[in-house]
Structures are given as C-alpha cells and as structure tokens.
C-alpha cells in the first residue's frame, strides 16, 4: 500500500511538473509593429506568412505604428508589465531612450543570446547597424535595415559634364567641398529664369544633423573632440560651411529640403537634380523611376576612406512580452531572413543589416556603400540627442541665409551641444 501511495505521489509530482512546464511555454502568437513604410519596405507581411508556414500553430499579427510620438504610451504599458506588441520597430536607438532608462527592453546579447547562433554572430552584421542598436554597451536594438549618407549622382548629367571616372566606371569622387561646389556649378542649368537642372541638393532639412555628422566624419575622420564629446569645430568644417553658403546663395545648392526632407529625393528621382547629398539608397529610386543605369553613387569628401553618417531601423523586444523567444526567432528568420533583407535592398534601396546579403545586390554601387557604411558613425547616444534633430537645422539655415555670421553659427552649434545632457541613458 505504501509503495502504491509512493508511486502515485511521484506520478502526481511529475504531472504537476509537466503542467508547470506547459504553463511556462510561450504563447505562440506575436504582434509585430512598425511604421507603415517599414512594414512595406521590409516585406514584413511576406515574412510573417512564411514564418507561420514554417511553424504551424504560430500566429504573427502585424500592426501599424502611427508615429514615434505614440511611443510614450508603450512605455506606460510596459512599466505595468503589459504589452500588446512583442516586436517593435523604431527609427534609431535614440527612440528607445525612454524604454532603456526604465529597463523595459531585452538585451539581445545577454538575455536572448541572439549572437550565439551560426550566421548571426556580431561579425556577420554591418558595423554601423550594430552600433546604432547599442545603448549603454548593451544590444537593446537589433538592426534590421541600415542606411548611410553618400552622394547620389545622375549618370547622364555627370557624363555630360565630364565628371565620370572611366577607370571606376562611376562618378568622380570629390576630394574637397570646393570640388562638390565646382561639380554642382557645372551641372546647374537655368533656362528662362527657371532652374532646368538643379546642380545639387544637400539635406538641410530636419536631418541636417546627419549631413553635418557625415561631412565631419568624412573630412576629419571623427565627430568627437579630444575628450570624446561631439564637436563640429574644425578648420575643414568652417571652410565647408562657407562653401555651402556660397553655393546656396548662387542657387547651385538648393534649399528645397528646408521645408521638406523628401524634396531632394523627389527632384532627384524626377531627373531634375544631378547631385543629391543624403541617404545613399536614394539612387535606387531614380533607377526605378527613370530606368536602369540612370543613377549611381559617389561619396562626401573623405567619406569612402573615413566613413559617413549611418543609421538603422532597429527591432526592440519589451520585457513585458510573454513570447520573447518567439519574437527573437521571428526577427532572425523573418526580418533578418533572405527575402526581407535582399528585397529591401534591391527594391527599396535599404541596406541589409546582415553583411552577407550584399552578395545578392543587383547593383554594384551597394558594395561601394557597404564600405562607406562600415566606417560610418551614428548619432551619439546622449540623453539629449533629440536636440540634434530639432535645433541644428535652424542654425545652419540661418547661416546659409546670411542671417548670422560663421562665428555665430559655430557658437550656436556648440551651444546646442553644450546644452545637451550627454550622459548615457
């Protein structure tokens, strides 16, 4: 009898252990959320469908994030241990500041052991992508797609102006900003008082900070001073601003991005603009719009050697999720899968986060941009980094419009940097 009772007790214990194990098993449903363009350009719907097919019983729901202004509401939910999203795509790691400061996110490296699987080691990623997802030395953001600033060129215009490097079979690379000005001047055409071909468009809208970082990194090989703090002060930088002002005054550098970040890209892919200095992937849009071989890439002065400005769309996983492993698995197989990564590269001009997918690139310019991106730097991970995207462009615009002097401009740029809280999150 005693033996029977013992066996029954052991069986009961085993059963209860099994039921605990089952209860602890993750729910097989995850919700992936991103901005509308991210869902389209990363082929998330296709990735979800494939993931569901590969894992019967798993459900992937896709929802659209209205804009990043709604992120604080997620922080409130996550603080209460609740979430209706398991994978959230955000523009760059600075958007994650409010979550990181409250320890609301999984660290992909420590918590999820993401890099331990073959094919997903840190070395497999594009350097600038991982860098952008790193906050406080932890990998809170997993890069999905990357971008780097470069010089998009209209091939026909460049050839006609004699700005084609026959050896490289690519547009010539400017060595200085004076060269960029000279190129733009050659390319700029005015007919009957109206601009027929715009020489160059430089991104001077709300992403001016990116242009400044890209230019400084290219020219000086660093964006930091001897104390490791962001600084734009240098002789090269001052000279560049003077060239910018001259070009803007003469109209060879257009100011149309002041009121619309996309204005340069729109006029470039319409064939109106010859040089576009902003995200390198814009040349693909012109290729799609105006026909294959229409556009290609060159770089900011010094950018090929020293790098430029890079950024990425990163995925984050909240600690409040009940399915962190499934979420990480979807990121690996879906968002970092071949279909999404090569699709976004060849169709939408977004660089893959995993370097191996550059081999699938249909255009040779991608390898060029890969080199630039590998050496590129991101926005510094300062608490007050949002000031860069809101306060720098009015200062630069004021200088370009001759409302302030060069010294005043440099002082104001420095004042913004000084006023930023530069501690990490």
């Amino acid at each position: 009898m005693k033996r029977l009772l013992s066996v029954m007790m052991i069986l009961a214990m085993l059963m209860s252990m099994c039921s605990v194990a089952l209860a602890e098993e993750e729910p097989q449903k995850i919700t992936v959320m991103g901005l509308s363009w991210q869902i389209t350009k990363i082929f998330i719907e296709e990735a979800a469908a494939q993931f569901e097919k590969d894992h019967p019983g798993v459900e992937v729901v896709i929802e659209t994030l209205p804009d990043y202004a709604s992120l604080p509401t997620y922080a409130v939910n996550w603080m209460n241990g609740e979430t209706d999203v398991d994978v959230l795509l955000i523009g760059d790691a600075n958007n994650a500041a409010q979550f990181v400061s409250r320890d609301l996110l999984y660290d992909f490296e420590e918590d999820l052991k993401f890099f331990e699987e073959e094919g997903f080691a840190k070395d497999d990623f594009l350097g600038v992508g991982l860098l952008d997802g790193t906050i406080n030395d932890k990998q809170y953001g997993m890069p999905i797609i990357c971008e780097a600033y470069a010089m998009n060129c209209n091939n026909a215009a460049m050839k006609e102006a004699g700005l084609w490097d026959e050896d490289r079979d690519a547009p010539v690379m400017p060595e200085t900003w004076d060269d960029v000005y000279e190129y733009a001047k050659k390319l700029h055409k005015v007919e009957d008082g109206k601009v027929a071909t715009q020489g160059a468009v430089i991104q001077w809208g709300s992403s001016t900070f990116a242009t400044l970082i890209a230019a400084k990194q290219g020219m000086d090989g660093t964006i930091y001073d001897e104390n490791g703090i962001l600084s734009f002060e240098s002789e090269n930088f001052r000279k560049m601003l003077e060239v910018w002002q001259k070009g803007a005054k003469e109209g060879v550098f257009s100011k149309e991005t002041y009121a619309d970040n996309m204005a340069g890209r729109n006029s470039f892919k319409a064939g109106i603009t010859s040089l576009l200095l902003e995200t390198g992937g814009a040349f693909v849009e012109a290729d799609v719009n105006l026909g294959p071989g229409t556009a290609s890439l060159s770089c900011f002065p010094g950018g090929y050697e020293n790098g430029s400005y890079g950024f990425s769309t990163v995925a984050i996983i909240p600690r409040a999720t009940k399915s962190p492993k499934l979420a990480a698995q979807f990121i690996k197989e879906g968002l970092l899968g071949k279909n999404s990564q090569t699709g976004t590269l060849n169709v939408y001009g977004k660089m893959p986060a995993l370097a191996r997918y550059f081999e699938n690139a249909e255009l040779k310019d991608w390898q060029f941009l890969q080199v630039v991106a590998n050496n590129s730097v991101c926005t510094p991970k300062y608490k007050g980094a949002t000031k860069l995207s809101t306060e720098l462009h009015p200062i630069i615009q004021s200088y370009l419009d001759e409302a302030i002097t060069l010294d005043e401009c440099m002082d104001k740029l420095q004042a913004v940097i000084d006023s930023m809280e530069k501690s990490a999150y």
Partner: protein, 300 residues
C-alpha cells in the same frame, strides 16, 4: 392653499432630483475629461518631469514659468506667432467680410460660390498643407511651373518655402485660403439677420453704396464681429498644422510658431512639466486677447 404649496414644492423637489440625474453624465464627463486634466496639467506645470528619464514629477514651484520668460527661443516663437496672427487676422476678417458682402448683394444664385468658399474647410488641413507644400516647392512645384512654363514669367519664380519673407507669406495665404470660407458664412449670417426695413430706411434717407456699408451695415454687425474676431484670434494663435507641414518652421526659425515650440518641448524632448507651463502661458494669452476683442467690439 398651503396644501398646493406643499405639493408644488414636492414636485419641484422631484424635478430637481431628475435634473441632477440628467446633468450628472455631462458633469462627470466634464470632470473626467476637462476639469481633472486642467488641474492635473496645472500641477504638472509646477513640476520638473521628463517622461523619458524621470520616474516621477518633482515639484519646483513656478520655475518653469520663470524659465519660459527667459527662454529666447520661446519668446522668438511668440514674436513669429504675433506676426503671423496680425497678418492672418487682418486678411481673414477682411476677406471674409468682402466675400460675404459680395454674396449678400449678389441676389442671384450664389450656392456655387458659397460651396466653393466653404469647401476648403471640409478638406482636412493636414492634407491641404501637404498639397501646398508640393505646390510651392521650388523645382517641381506647380506654382513655379505655372509662372515659368505657362505664363512665361520665369523671373517671378521663387523659393517660396525657404526664403524670407515668402515662407511667412505662404503660410498666411494657405491658412486664409483654408478658413476664409467659415468667416464668410458667419458674416453672411450676420448680414442676413439685419432687418430689411432698416436698410430700406437708409435708402429712403439717401444712403447708398459705401455710406450704407459704413453707416448702417458695419455698425450693426458688432455681434458678428465679436464672434468672427474671437474665432480668428483662436485660429491665429493656435496655428500649428500649416507651418509644421508647409514650411516645417523654417527657414531657420522664421515660421516656428508657439504651438510648434510647445509640441517640441512636450513630445520631442518629453519635458512634460515645461511643456505644460508653456501651454498655460499660451492659454492665458489667448484668453486675454479674446476678452480684449470682445471689449473692443462692444465699444465699437
């Protein structure tokens, strides 16, 4: 008699109870969605609270208000809003009045014109702002295309959105286009409410044209002026969408208005305490100007 009195007061008591029941939902809604948020944000304005980095608000008294009046960027944004508001107020009031007078005196069928004037109100302002942002672009905008390629006046083309003073003029024109129809309808209602015999009496007394307008019509539109004036002031001071989407606040900070600055503090920097204080300053400013408008309208 005493019995009737008692029964009446009992009925009144019942009525009063019903009254309370009927008023209660509105009172609760107002408390939850208006009164509580008002006092909560008033408290918030007296705290230092960065939503991203502070765990809870820290009471700092009137420091945010002092900071606001020493914040040169905020003062600049008030200046920009003042310039915009003056231009907008004058143009929308004059435009609305002139269009209303034209409709009033055009005795024929004016429904097409009324619809045309009112149509921009129906279109979401964000949408029309996007469209104007395209229309006014330098290189591929329709306006420059029209000027250069249709009219052959290339010398008239401009960088409408990225040069001074054209950026400010652009947002004022877009705002007036979007709202003048509403002002027109308000003025027209005021005109149609004028007693016909008063106008006829004026004509009998020999008043014609501008004399009728200045001596009879306008003085009798005082109440309409008060309503349209307050509406125009509110529209002017709370301007946000048009400069945000048409000029993005530029060039430089030439069109960065108060609301854009407040939005940036609250929802970009997540400085909730400071943002709330700026919001209260703006509300007080709007209230003072609206009261001033009412006083002036009454005196006139």
């Amino acid at each position: 008699m005493a019995k009737i009195k008692r029964s009446l007061s009992a009925r009144q008591r019942i009525k009063a109870r019903y009254g309370v029941v009927f008023v209660l939902p509105a009172f609760l809604l107002a408390t939850v969605f208006m009164i509580y948020p008002l006092f909560a944000s008033l408290y918030l304005s007296l705290t230092k609270y960065n939503f991203a980095f502070d765990t809870k608000p820290q009471f700092i008294g009137i420091e945010n208000y002092v900071k606001a009046f020493n914040d040169s960027a905020f003062i600049d944004s008030i200046g920009v809003t003042a310039v915009y508001s003056i231009l907008y107020f004058v143009l929308v009031m004059l435009g609305g009045l002139i269009l209303a007078l034209m409709l009033f005196y055009a005795k024929g069928k004016t429904s097409v014109f009324r619809t045309a004037y009112f149509l921009p109100i129906v279109i979401p302002l964000s949408l029309s702002s996007f469209i104007f942002n395209w229309i006014l672009q330098k290189n591929y905008g329709l306006l420059n295309y029209f000027l250069a390629d249709i009219l052959g006046a290339g010398h008239l083309t401009r960088e409408w959105l990225s040069t001074n003073p054209w950026a400010m003029i652009s947002i004022v024109v877009v705002s007036v286009w979007a709202t003048v129809g509403f002002e027109t309808i308000l003025f027209l209602n005021g005109l149609q409410a004028l007693p016909e015999d008063m106008l006829e009496a004026g004509i009998v007394d020999g008043a014609t044209g501008f004399r009728t307008l200045f001596s009879i019509i306008l003085p009798n539109l005082r109440e309409t002026f008060a309503v349209t004036g307050i509406w125009a002031i509110l529209q002017a001071l709370k301007v946000y969408i048009v400069p945000s989407l048409v000029t993005w606040g530029g060039p430089g900070t030439a069109t960065t208005v108060m609301y854009m600055y407040v939005y940036r503090q609250s929802f970009t920097y997540l400085e909730m305490g400071y943002g709330a204080a700026l919001g209260f300053i703006m509300s007080i400013l709007i209230m003072v100007l609206s009261l001033l408008n009412m006083r002036i309208s009454k005196k006139v």
